[in-house]
Protein backbone atom coordinates (compact mmCIF):
# COMPACT_ATOMS: atom_id res chain seq x y z
CA UNK A 1 0.00 0.00 0.00
CA UNK A 2 1.32 3.43 -0.95
CA UNK A 3 0.20 6.98 -0.54
CA UNK A 4 -0.11 8.86 -3.83
CA UNK A 5 -1.36 12.20 -5.03
CA UNK A 6 -3.81 12.28 -7.90
CA UNK A 7 -4.13 15.67 -9.59
CA UNK A 8 -7.62 15.63 -11.12
CA UNK A 9 -9.23 18.28 -13.30
CA UNK A 10 -12.32 19.74 -11.68
CA UNK A 11 -14.51 22.09 -13.63
CA UNK A 12 -16.88 22.51 -16.52
CA UNK A 13 -17.07 24.39 -19.82
CA UNK A 14 -16.88 27.67 -17.93
CA UNK A 15 -13.46 26.88 -16.42
CA UNK A 16 -11.86 24.88 -13.68
CA UNK A 17 -8.61 23.82 -12.06
CA UNK A 18 -6.52 20.82 -11.11
CA UNK A 19 -7.08 19.67 -7.52
CA UNK A 20 -4.80 17.35 -5.61
CA UNK A 21 -6.21 14.32 -3.79
CA UNK A 22 -4.02 12.24 -1.53
CA UNK A 23 -5.17 8.63 -1.43
CA UNK A 24 -4.04 5.09 -0.73
CA UNK A 25 -3.05 2.96 -3.70
CA UNK A 26 -3.00 -0.78 -3.21
CA UNK A 27 -1.58 -3.55 -5.36
CA UNK A 28 -3.56 -4.28 -8.51
CA UNK A 29 -5.42 -0.99 -8.65
CA UNK A 30 -6.01 0.76 -11.94
CA UNK A 31 -6.48 4.53 -12.29
CA UNK A 32 -10.25 4.10 -12.53
CA UNK A 33 -10.22 2.34 -9.13
CA UNK A 34 -8.31 5.23 -7.62
CA UNK A 35 -10.55 7.89 -9.14
CA UNK A 36 -13.66 6.05 -7.93
CA UNK A 37 -12.09 5.73 -4.50
CA UNK A 38 -11.48 9.48 -4.45
CA UNK A 39 -15.07 10.02 -5.60
CA UNK A 40 -16.36 7.79 -2.79
CA UNK A 41 -14.15 9.19 -0.03
CA UNK A 42 -13.30 12.78 -0.89
CA UNK A 43 -15.13 14.21 -3.89
CA UNK A 44 -18.69 12.94 -4.12
CA UNK A 45 -19.53 15.35 -6.94
CA UNK A 46 -16.65 14.24 -9.16
CA UNK A 47 -18.08 13.39 -12.58
CA UNK A 48 -16.64 10.50 -14.54
CA UNK A 49 -17.98 8.10 -17.11
CA UNK A 50 -17.32 4.38 -16.81
CA UNK A 51 -19.09 1.10 -17.36
CA UNK A 52 -17.34 -2.23 -17.93
CA UNK A 53 -14.00 -1.73 -16.17
CA UNK A 54 -12.59 -4.26 -18.60
CA UNK A 55 -11.37 -2.16 -21.52
CA UNK A 56 -14.29 -3.09 -23.73
CA UNK A 57 -16.90 -0.35 -23.42
CA UNK A 58 -14.63 2.62 -24.17
CA UNK A 59 -16.37 4.86 -21.64
CA UNK A 60 -13.60 5.84 -19.23
CA UNK A 61 -11.37 7.59 -21.75
CA UNK A 62 -9.27 10.32 -20.19
CA UNK A 63 -5.70 11.60 -20.16
CA UNK A 64 -3.48 10.03 -17.55
CA UNK A 65 -0.19 11.85 -17.11
CA UNK A 66 -0.90 13.66 -20.36
CA UNK A 67 -1.47 10.61 -22.55
CA UNK A 68 -4.93 9.53 -23.72
CA UNK A 69 -5.76 6.24 -21.99
CA UNK A 70 -8.62 4.16 -20.72
CA UNK A 71 -8.56 4.70 -16.96
CA UNK A 72 -9.62 1.10 -16.42
CA UNK A 73 -6.61 -0.19 -18.35
CA UNK A 74 -4.03 2.08 -16.72
CA UNK A 75 -2.29 0.15 -13.96
CA UNK A 76 -1.05 2.26 -11.09
CA UNK A 77 2.02 0.00 -10.94
CA UNK A 78 3.05 1.44 -14.33
CA UNK A 79 2.89 5.03 -13.04
CA UNK A 80 5.56 6.99 -11.15
CA UNK A 81 3.57 7.35 -7.93
CA UNK A 82 6.29 9.38 -6.23
CA UNK A 83 5.05 12.32 -8.34
CA UNK A 84 1.43 13.55 -8.62
CA UNK A 85 -0.52 11.59 -11.24
CA UNK A 86 -2.45 13.90 -13.54
CA UNK A 87 -5.92 12.83 -14.65
CA UNK A 88 -7.79 15.13 -17.01
CA UNK A 89 -10.58 14.86 -19.57
CA UNK A 90 -9.93 14.36 -23.28
CA UNK A 91 -8.76 17.63 -24.73
CA UNK A 92 -10.20 17.25 -28.21
CA UNK A 93 -13.83 17.30 -27.10
CA UNK A 94 -15.98 19.89 -25.31
CA UNK A 95 -15.97 19.49 -21.56
CA UNK A 96 -19.22 18.74 -19.76
CA UNK A 97 -17.94 18.32 -16.21
CA UNK A 98 -14.72 17.12 -14.58
CA UNK A 99 -13.63 14.04 -16.56
CA UNK A 100 -16.70 13.83 -18.77
CA UNK A 101 -16.59 15.20 -22.31
CA UNK A 102 -19.18 15.53 -25.06
CA UNK A 103 -18.15 13.09 -27.78
CA UNK A 104 -21.34 13.48 -29.86
CA UNK A 105 -19.36 15.08 -32.72
CA UNK A 106 -18.12 11.58 -33.48
CA UNK A 107 -21.63 10.24 -33.93
CA UNK A 108 -22.46 13.05 -36.32
CA UNK A 109 -19.33 12.31 -38.35
CA UNK A 110 -20.21 8.64 -38.61
CA UNK A 111 -23.54 9.47 -40.22
CA UNK A 112 -21.69 11.18 -43.09
CA UNK A 113 -19.92 7.97 -44.11
CA UNK A 114 -21.48 5.88 -46.85
CA UNK A 115 -22.72 2.67 -45.23
CA UNK A 116 -21.92 -0.93 -46.12
CA UNK A 117 -23.38 -1.89 -49.51
CA UNK A 118 -22.96 -5.59 -50.22
CA UNK A 119 -23.02 -7.08 -53.69
CA UNK A 120 -26.01 -9.15 -54.74
CA UNK A 121 -26.31 -12.38 -52.73
CA UNK A 122 -24.30 -15.30 -54.12
CA UNK A 123 -26.93 -17.86 -53.29
CA UNK A 124 -30.66 -18.12 -53.89
CA UNK A 125 -31.28 -18.14 -50.17
CA UNK A 126 -29.88 -14.60 -49.95
CA UNK A 127 -26.50 -15.50 -48.48
CA UNK A 128 -22.94 -14.81 -49.58
CA UNK A 129 -19.75 -16.83 -49.76
CA UNK A 130 -16.42 -15.24 -48.96
CA UNK A 131 -12.97 -16.50 -48.04
CA UNK A 132 -11.97 -16.14 -44.42
CA UNK A 133 -8.58 -14.79 -45.47
CA UNK A 134 -10.29 -11.97 -47.38
CA UNK A 135 -12.41 -10.86 -44.47
CA UNK A 136 -9.61 -11.25 -41.91
CA UNK A 137 -8.03 -7.96 -42.94
CA UNK A 138 -11.06 -5.88 -42.04
CA UNK A 139 -11.71 -7.88 -38.86
CA UNK A 140 -8.84 -6.08 -37.15
CA UNK A 141 -10.73 -2.82 -37.53
CA UNK A 142 -13.90 -4.34 -36.07
CA UNK A 143 -12.10 -4.55 -32.72
CA UNK A 144 -12.60 -0.79 -32.28
CA UNK A 145 -14.52 0.01 -29.08
CA UNK A 146 -15.05 3.68 -29.99
CA UNK A 147 -13.25 5.04 -26.98
CA UNK A 148 -12.14 7.97 -29.20
CA UNK A 149 -8.67 8.08 -27.70
CA UNK A 150 -7.26 8.12 -31.23
CA UNK A 151 -9.43 11.12 -32.04
CA UNK A 152 -8.25 12.81 -28.87
CA UNK A 153 -4.55 12.35 -29.58
CA UNK A 154 -4.77 13.24 -33.27
CA UNK A 155 -3.16 16.68 -33.52
CA UNK A 156 -5.33 17.64 -36.50
CA UNK A 157 -8.37 17.53 -34.22
CA UNK A 158 -6.71 18.22 -30.88
CA UNK A 159 -4.48 21.15 -31.78
CA UNK A 160 -5.71 22.45 -35.12
CA UNK A 161 -9.41 21.89 -34.46
CA UNK A 162 -10.16 20.89 -38.08
CA UNK A 163 -13.30 19.05 -37.03
CA UNK A 164 -15.23 20.18 -40.10
CA UNK A 165 -12.50 19.13 -42.53
CA UNK A 166 -11.13 15.88 -41.07
CA UNK A 167 -13.00 12.86 -39.74
CA UNK A 168 -10.11 11.55 -37.62
CA UNK A 169 -8.45 8.14 -37.28
CA UNK A 170 -11.45 6.39 -35.75
CA UNK A 171 -13.52 6.94 -38.86
CA UNK A 172 -10.68 6.24 -41.24
CA UNK A 173 -10.53 2.86 -39.53
CA UNK A 174 -14.28 2.53 -40.01
CA UNK A 175 -13.97 3.35 -43.71
CA UNK A 176 -11.04 0.93 -44.04
CA UNK A 177 -13.23 -1.83 -42.58
CA UNK A 178 -15.90 -1.07 -45.18
CA UNK A 179 -13.60 -0.46 -48.15
CA UNK A 180 -11.56 -3.61 -47.61
CA UNK A 181 -14.55 -5.83 -46.97
CA UNK A 182 -14.82 -8.42 -49.76
CA UNK A 183 -18.59 -7.97 -50.12
CA UNK A 184 -18.72 -4.18 -50.13
CA UNK A 185 -19.33 -2.46 -53.46
CA UNK A 186 -19.50 1.17 -52.36
CA UNK A 187 -16.80 3.61 -53.44
CA UNK A 188 -15.74 6.09 -50.76
CA UNK A 189 -12.38 7.16 -52.21
CA UNK A 190 -13.52 10.51 -53.58
CA UNK A 191 -15.24 11.29 -50.26
CA UNK A 192 -12.07 10.31 -48.43
CA UNK A 193 -10.03 12.88 -50.31
CA UNK A 194 -12.54 15.71 -50.35
CA UNK A 195 -15.13 15.48 -47.61
CA UNK A 196 -13.27 13.34 -45.08
CA UNK A 197 -9.89 15.05 -45.49
CA UNK A 198 -7.57 12.05 -45.43
CA UNK A 199 -4.81 14.34 -46.70
CA UNK A 200 -4.71 16.05 -43.31
CA UNK A 201 -3.25 12.93 -41.70
CA UNK A 202 0.52 13.32 -41.56
CA UNK A 203 1.20 9.82 -40.25
CA UNK A 204 2.45 10.66 -36.76
CA UNK A 205 1.18 7.24 -35.59
CA UNK A 206 -0.03 8.71 -32.30
CA UNK A 207 -3.43 7.09 -32.92
CA UNK A 208 -1.79 3.68 -33.18
CA UNK A 209 0.19 4.36 -30.03
CA UNK A 210 -2.84 5.07 -27.85
CA UNK A 211 -5.25 2.46 -29.23
CA UNK A 212 -6.24 0.17 -26.31
CA UNK A 213 -7.26 -2.55 -28.77
CA UNK A 214 -3.83 -2.48 -30.45
CA UNK A 215 -5.30 -1.79 -33.87
CA UNK A 216 -2.47 -0.87 -36.22
CA UNK A 217 -4.43 2.19 -37.30
CA UNK A 218 -1.81 4.00 -39.34
CA UNK A 219 -0.10 1.13 -41.15
CA UNK A 220 -3.11 -1.12 -41.76
CA UNK A 221 -5.94 1.37 -42.21
CA UNK A 222 -4.88 4.94 -42.96
CA UNK A 223 -1.86 4.36 -45.22
CA UNK A 224 -3.65 1.70 -47.33
CA UNK A 225 -6.54 4.16 -47.75
CA UNK A 226 -4.10 6.92 -48.68
CA UNK A 227 -2.63 4.59 -51.30
CA UNK A 228 -6.09 3.84 -52.69
CA UNK A 229 -6.72 7.58 -52.95
CA UNK A 230 -3.38 7.96 -54.76
CA UNK A 231 -4.58 5.30 -57.24
CA UNK A 232 -7.60 7.30 -58.27
CA UNK A 233 -6.44 10.88 -57.75
CA UNK A 234 -2.68 11.31 -57.97
CA UNK A 235 -1.19 8.48 -60.03
CA UNK A 236 -1.52 9.31 -63.75
CA UNK A 237 -0.23 5.91 -64.90
CA UNK A 238 -2.70 3.97 -62.78
CA UNK A 239 -5.52 6.25 -63.88
CA UNK A 240 -4.53 5.69 -67.51
CA UNK A 241 -4.37 1.92 -67.03
CA UNK A 242 -7.73 1.89 -65.27
CA UNK A 243 -9.29 3.85 -68.13
CA UNK A 244 -7.66 1.52 -70.69
CA UNK A 245 -8.93 -1.55 -68.85
CA UNK A 246 -12.44 -0.12 -68.74
CA UNK A 247 -12.36 0.57 -72.48
CA UNK A 248 -10.84 -2.83 -73.25
CA UNK A 249 -13.46 -4.47 -71.10
CA UNK A 250 -16.20 -2.57 -72.92
CA UNK A 251 -15.08 -3.88 -76.31
CA UNK A 252 -14.42 -7.39 -74.96
CA UNK A 253 -10.60 -7.34 -75.08
CA UNK A 254 -10.15 -7.99 -71.40
CA UNK A 255 -11.95 -10.02 -68.85
Amino acid sequence: MAQAIFRIWRGDSGGGEFRDYATEVTSGMVVLDVVRQIQAEQAHDLALRWNCKAGKCGSCSAEVNGMPKLMCMSRTSDLPLEKPVTVQPMKAFPLIKDLVTDVSWNYRVKKKIKPFRPRKPDEKDGTWRMAQSDVDRSMEFRKCIECFLCQDVCHVLREHRLLDEFIGPRFLVHIAALEMHPLDTENRLEDLRKEHGIGYCNITKCCTKVCPEDITITDNAIIPLKERVVDVSYDPIRRFLARYRRKASAVGLAS
Partner: protein
Protein backbone atom coordinates in the same frame (compact mmCIF):
# COMPACT_ATOMS: atom_id res chain seq x y z
CA UNK B 1 -19.11 25.66 -37.71
CA UNK B 2 -17.14 26.48 -34.59
CA UNK B 3 -16.23 23.75 -32.17
CA UNK B 4 -15.71 24.64 -28.52
CA UNK B 5 -12.39 23.72 -26.98
CA UNK B 6 -11.61 22.59 -23.51
CA UNK B 7 -10.74 25.37 -21.11
CA UNK B 8 -7.93 23.30 -19.65
CA UNK B 9 -4.51 22.73 -21.12
CA UNK B 10 -4.41 25.53 -23.70
CA UNK B 11 -2.30 25.01 -26.79
CA UNK B 12 1.24 26.27 -27.09
CA UNK B 13 4.58 24.90 -28.17
CA UNK B 14 5.65 22.11 -25.86
CA UNK B 15 2.65 22.42 -23.57
CA UNK B 16 1.68 19.06 -22.12
CA UNK B 17 1.04 17.33 -18.84
CA UNK B 18 3.23 14.43 -19.89
CA UNK B 19 5.94 14.02 -17.25
CA UNK B 20 8.09 11.68 -19.36
CA UNK B 21 10.95 12.65 -21.65
CA UNK B 22 8.67 13.09 -24.69
CA UNK B 23 11.33 15.23 -26.39
CA UNK B 24 13.89 12.43 -26.46
CA UNK B 25 12.59 10.49 -29.46
CA UNK B 26 12.22 13.52 -31.78
CA UNK B 27 15.63 14.73 -30.61
CA UNK B 28 17.22 11.39 -31.54
CA UNK B 29 15.49 11.44 -34.92
CA UNK B 30 16.61 15.04 -35.48
CA UNK B 31 20.19 14.16 -34.65
CA UNK B 32 20.23 10.91 -36.66
CA UNK B 33 18.71 12.35 -39.82
CA UNK B 34 20.75 15.56 -39.63
CA UNK B 35 23.98 13.58 -39.21
CA UNK B 36 23.13 11.47 -42.25
CA UNK B 37 22.18 14.46 -44.40
CA UNK B 38 25.41 16.28 -43.51
CA UNK B 39 27.61 13.23 -44.12
CA UNK B 40 25.90 12.14 -47.36
CA UNK B 41 26.02 15.70 -48.76
CA UNK B 42 29.70 15.98 -47.89
CA UNK B 43 30.43 12.56 -49.39
CA UNK B 44 28.49 13.37 -52.58
CA UNK B 45 30.45 16.58 -53.11
CA UNK B 46 33.83 14.85 -52.74
CA UNK B 47 33.76 13.08 -56.13
CA UNK B 48 36.88 11.08 -55.20
CA UNK B 49 37.71 8.00 -53.10
CA UNK B 50 34.38 6.40 -53.90
CA UNK B 51 35.76 3.14 -55.25
CA UNK B 52 38.43 0.72 -54.18
CA UNK B 53 39.28 -2.31 -56.27
CA UNK B 54 36.02 -4.12 -57.00
CA UNK B 55 34.11 -2.02 -54.45
CA UNK B 56 32.08 1.08 -55.27
CA UNK B 57 30.35 3.25 -52.72
CA UNK B 58 26.52 2.93 -52.74
CA UNK B 59 26.35 6.74 -52.80
CA UNK B 60 27.91 6.58 -56.26
CA UNK B 61 26.28 3.48 -57.67
CA UNK B 62 25.26 3.13 -60.41
CA UNK B 63 28.02 5.41 -61.64
CA UNK B 64 26.49 6.66 -64.87
CA UNK B 65 29.28 9.04 -65.79
CA UNK B 66 32.62 9.25 -64.01
CA UNK B 67 36.30 8.58 -63.99
CA UNK B 68 36.35 5.20 -62.25
CA UNK B 69 36.40 1.77 -63.93
CA UNK B 70 32.85 1.29 -62.64
CA UNK B 71 31.47 4.05 -64.88
CA UNK B 72 28.72 2.86 -67.25
CA UNK B 73 28.88 5.52 -69.96
CA UNK B 74 32.39 6.92 -69.70
CA UNK B 75 33.88 10.00 -68.06
CA UNK B 76 32.32 13.29 -67.06
CA UNK B 77 30.82 15.01 -70.13
CA UNK B 78 33.04 17.67 -71.64
CA UNK B 79 30.13 20.11 -71.92
CA UNK B 80 29.58 20.18 -68.16
CA UNK B 81 29.72 23.80 -67.01
CA UNK B 82 33.01 24.55 -65.32
CA UNK B 83 31.33 26.67 -62.63
CA UNK B 84 28.94 23.85 -61.72
CA UNK B 85 30.21 21.38 -59.12
CA UNK B 86 30.51 17.86 -60.45
CA UNK B 87 30.26 14.49 -58.79
CA UNK B 88 28.92 11.20 -60.16
CA UNK B 89 26.75 11.05 -57.04
CA UNK B 90 24.73 14.08 -58.19
CA UNK B 91 23.27 12.05 -61.05
CA UNK B 92 21.76 9.38 -58.84
CA UNK B 93 21.38 10.44 -55.21
CA UNK B 94 18.07 12.18 -55.93
CA UNK B 95 16.45 8.76 -56.32
CA UNK B 96 17.19 7.12 -52.94
CA UNK B 97 16.94 10.57 -51.34
CA UNK B 98 13.48 11.08 -52.80
CA UNK B 99 12.44 7.58 -51.80
CA UNK B 100 13.37 8.20 -48.18
CA UNK B 101 12.01 11.75 -48.16
CA UNK B 102 8.56 10.57 -49.26
CA UNK B 103 8.60 7.34 -47.22
CA UNK B 104 5.60 7.01 -44.92
CA UNK B 105 7.76 6.16 -41.92
CA UNK B 106 10.22 9.01 -42.40
CA UNK B 107 7.41 11.47 -43.05
CA UNK B 108 5.88 10.82 -39.65
CA UNK B 109 9.31 10.94 -38.04
CA UNK B 110 10.59 14.15 -39.60
CA UNK B 111 7.30 16.01 -39.30
CA UNK B 112 7.75 15.54 -35.57
CA UNK B 113 11.49 16.09 -35.34
CA UNK B 114 12.01 18.92 -37.84
CA UNK B 115 8.64 20.69 -37.93
CA UNK B 116 7.26 19.88 -34.48
CA UNK B 117 3.99 19.04 -36.19
CA UNK B 118 3.40 17.75 -33.53
CA UNK B 119 6.66 17.58 -31.51
CA UNK B 120 5.32 14.40 -29.86
CA UNK B 121 1.96 12.81 -29.18
CA UNK B 122 -0.31 15.02 -27.04
CA UNK B 123 2.23 17.85 -26.95
CA UNK B 124 1.40 21.41 -28.04
CA UNK B 125 2.59 22.77 -31.37
CA UNK B 126 4.36 26.01 -32.28
CA UNK B 127 1.92 27.12 -35.01
CA UNK B 128 -1.81 27.16 -35.53
CA UNK B 129 -1.95 26.97 -39.35
CA UNK B 130 -1.99 23.46 -40.72
CA UNK B 131 -2.40 22.22 -44.29
CA UNK B 132 -1.40 18.58 -43.99
CA UNK B 133 -0.64 16.43 -47.01
CA UNK B 134 -3.76 17.42 -48.93
CA UNK B 135 -2.32 20.72 -50.18
CA UNK B 136 0.85 21.96 -51.85
CA UNK B 137 3.67 21.32 -51.10
CA UNK B 138 3.11 18.15 -49.07
CA UNK B 139 0.62 16.82 -51.59
CA UNK B 140 3.75 15.97 -53.60
CA UNK B 141 4.45 13.19 -51.07
CA UNK B 142 2.01 11.13 -53.12
CA UNK B 143 4.78 10.63 -55.67
CA UNK B 144 6.30 8.04 -53.31
CA UNK B 145 5.40 5.03 -55.44
CA UNK B 146 7.35 6.43 -58.39
CA UNK B 147 10.44 6.74 -56.23
CA UNK B 148 9.74 3.15 -55.18
CA UNK B 149 10.01 1.97 -58.78
CA UNK B 150 13.44 3.60 -59.07
CA UNK B 151 14.50 2.26 -55.66
CA UNK B 152 13.65 -1.28 -56.79
CA UNK B 153 15.94 -0.79 -59.80
CA UNK B 154 18.67 0.46 -57.47
CA UNK B 155 18.38 -2.76 -55.49
CA UNK B 156 19.28 -4.64 -58.67
CA UNK B 157 22.26 -2.35 -59.33
CA UNK B 158 23.55 -2.67 -55.78
CA UNK B 159 23.16 -6.45 -55.90
CA UNK B 160 25.25 -6.41 -59.06
CA UNK B 161 27.85 -4.37 -57.14
CA UNK B 162 28.04 -7.15 -54.56
CA UNK B 163 28.58 -9.65 -57.37
CA UNK B 164 31.40 -7.50 -58.73
CA UNK B 165 32.84 -7.22 -55.22
CA UNK B 166 33.40 -10.99 -55.32
CA UNK B 167 35.98 -10.74 -58.11
CA UNK B 168 39.43 -9.44 -57.28
CA UNK B 169 42.17 -8.61 -59.73
CA UNK B 170 45.68 -9.88 -59.03
CA UNK B 171 47.84 -6.79 -59.36
CA UNK B 172 50.86 -8.87 -60.51
CA UNK B 173 49.31 -11.23 -63.05
CA UNK B 174 46.22 -9.16 -63.89
CA UNK B 175 44.07 -12.26 -63.49
CA UNK B 176 40.66 -11.98 -61.90
CA UNK B 177 39.67 -14.53 -59.30
CA UNK B 178 36.86 -15.18 -56.86
CA UNK B 179 37.22 -13.93 -53.30
CA UNK B 180 35.47 -12.41 -50.35
CA UNK B 181 36.77 -9.37 -48.53
CA UNK B 182 35.39 -7.48 -45.57
CA UNK B 183 34.23 -4.90 -48.11
CA UNK B 184 32.23 -7.60 -49.90
CA UNK B 185 30.42 -8.36 -46.65
CA UNK B 186 29.87 -4.65 -46.00
CA UNK B 187 28.28 -4.18 -49.43
CA UNK B 188 26.26 -7.41 -49.10
CA UNK B 189 24.92 -6.31 -45.71
CA UNK B 190 24.07 -2.96 -47.27
CA UNK B 191 21.97 -4.45 -50.05
CA UNK B 192 20.31 -6.85 -47.58
CA UNK B 193 19.24 -4.02 -45.28
CA UNK B 194 18.18 -1.85 -48.21
CA UNK B 195 16.18 -4.81 -49.48
CA UNK B 196 14.48 -5.17 -46.10
CA UNK B 197 13.62 -1.49 -46.18
CA UNK B 198 12.55 -1.18 -49.84
CA UNK B 199 10.60 -4.44 -49.98
CA UNK B 200 8.70 -3.47 -46.83
CA UNK B 201 7.50 -0.19 -48.36
CA UNK B 202 3.86 0.73 -47.72
CA UNK B 203 3.35 1.61 -51.38
CA UNK B 204 4.76 -1.74 -52.48
CA UNK B 205 2.45 -3.46 -50.01
CA UNK B 206 -0.46 -1.72 -51.67
CA UNK B 207 0.69 -2.36 -55.22
CA UNK B 208 1.43 -6.07 -54.83
CA UNK B 209 -1.88 -6.90 -53.24
CA UNK B 210 -3.20 -4.41 -50.73
CA UNK B 211 -5.39 -2.71 -53.31
CA UNK B 212 -7.37 -5.90 -53.84
CA UNK B 213 -10.18 -7.04 -51.56
CA UNK B 214 -10.25 -10.61 -52.90
CA UNK B 215 -6.69 -11.81 -52.43
CA UNK B 216 -7.84 -15.40 -51.94
CA UNK B 217 -8.44 -15.51 -55.70
CA UNK B 218 -4.87 -14.36 -56.40
CA UNK B 219 -2.46 -16.73 -54.66
CA UNK B 220 0.70 -15.10 -56.04
CA UNK B 221 -0.41 -11.66 -54.94
CA UNK B 222 -1.52 -13.03 -51.58
CA UNK B 223 1.92 -14.51 -50.97
CA UNK B 224 3.63 -11.31 -52.09
CA UNK B 225 1.33 -9.26 -49.88
CA UNK B 226 2.11 -11.47 -46.88
CA UNK B 227 5.87 -11.17 -47.46
CA UNK B 228 5.78 -7.40 -47.88
CA UNK B 229 3.49 -7.08 -44.86
CA UNK B 230 5.97 -9.10 -42.81
CA UNK B 231 8.79 -6.71 -43.71
CA UNK B 232 6.46 -3.73 -43.38
CA UNK B 233 5.97 -4.50 -39.68
CA UNK B 234 9.71 -3.86 -39.26
CA UNK B 235 9.82 -0.89 -41.63
CA UNK B 236 11.12 1.54 -39.02
CA UNK B 237 13.89 -0.82 -37.97
CA UNK B 238 15.02 -1.40 -41.57
CA UNK B 239 14.72 2.33 -42.31
CA UNK B 240 17.25 3.17 -39.62
CA UNK B 241 19.55 0.18 -40.09
CA UNK B 242 19.76 0.69 -43.84
CA UNK B 243 20.29 4.43 -43.41
CA UNK B 244 23.20 3.86 -41.06
CA UNK B 245 24.70 1.06 -43.09
CA UNK B 246 24.58 2.83 -46.44
CA UNK B 247 26.54 5.66 -44.84
CA UNK B 248 28.96 3.21 -43.25
CA UNK B 249 29.44 1.42 -46.59
CA UNK B 250 30.49 4.69 -48.20
CA UNK B 251 32.81 5.40 -45.27
CA UNK B 252 34.36 1.93 -45.54
CA UNK B 253 35.08 2.24 -49.26
CA UNK B 254 36.30 5.81 -48.79
CA UNK B 255 38.73 4.98 -45.98
CA UNK B 256 40.04 1.91 -47.84
CA UNK B 257 40.56 4.05 -50.93
CA UNK B 258 42.39 6.69 -48.87
CA UNK B 259 44.61 4.02 -47.35
CA UNK B 260 43.36 4.66 -43.83
CA UNK B 261 41.73 1.25 -43.49
CA UNK B 262 42.96 -2.05 -44.90
CA UNK B 263 40.42 -4.26 -46.62
CA UNK B 264 41.06 -7.69 -45.13
CA UNK B 265 40.51 -10.63 -47.47
CA UNK B 266 38.64 -13.51 -45.87
CA UNK B 267 39.48 -15.87 -48.75
Amino acid sequence: MTHPTNALNPSGFGRTTRPDAWWLQPAVVLFGLSAFIVYSTWAAFQGVHYYYGPYVSPFYSPELLGESPHSWFGPKPSWWFSWLPWSPAFLILWAPGGFRLTCYYYRGAYYKAFWADPPACAVGEPRKRYLGEGSFPLILQNVHRYFLYVALAFLVFLTYDVWKALWFEDLVTGQVHFGVGVGTLVLATNVTLLGGYTLGCHSLRHLVGGRHDHLSERPVRRTAYSCVSCLNQRHMMFAWLSLFWVGFSDLYVRLCSMGVWTDWRIF
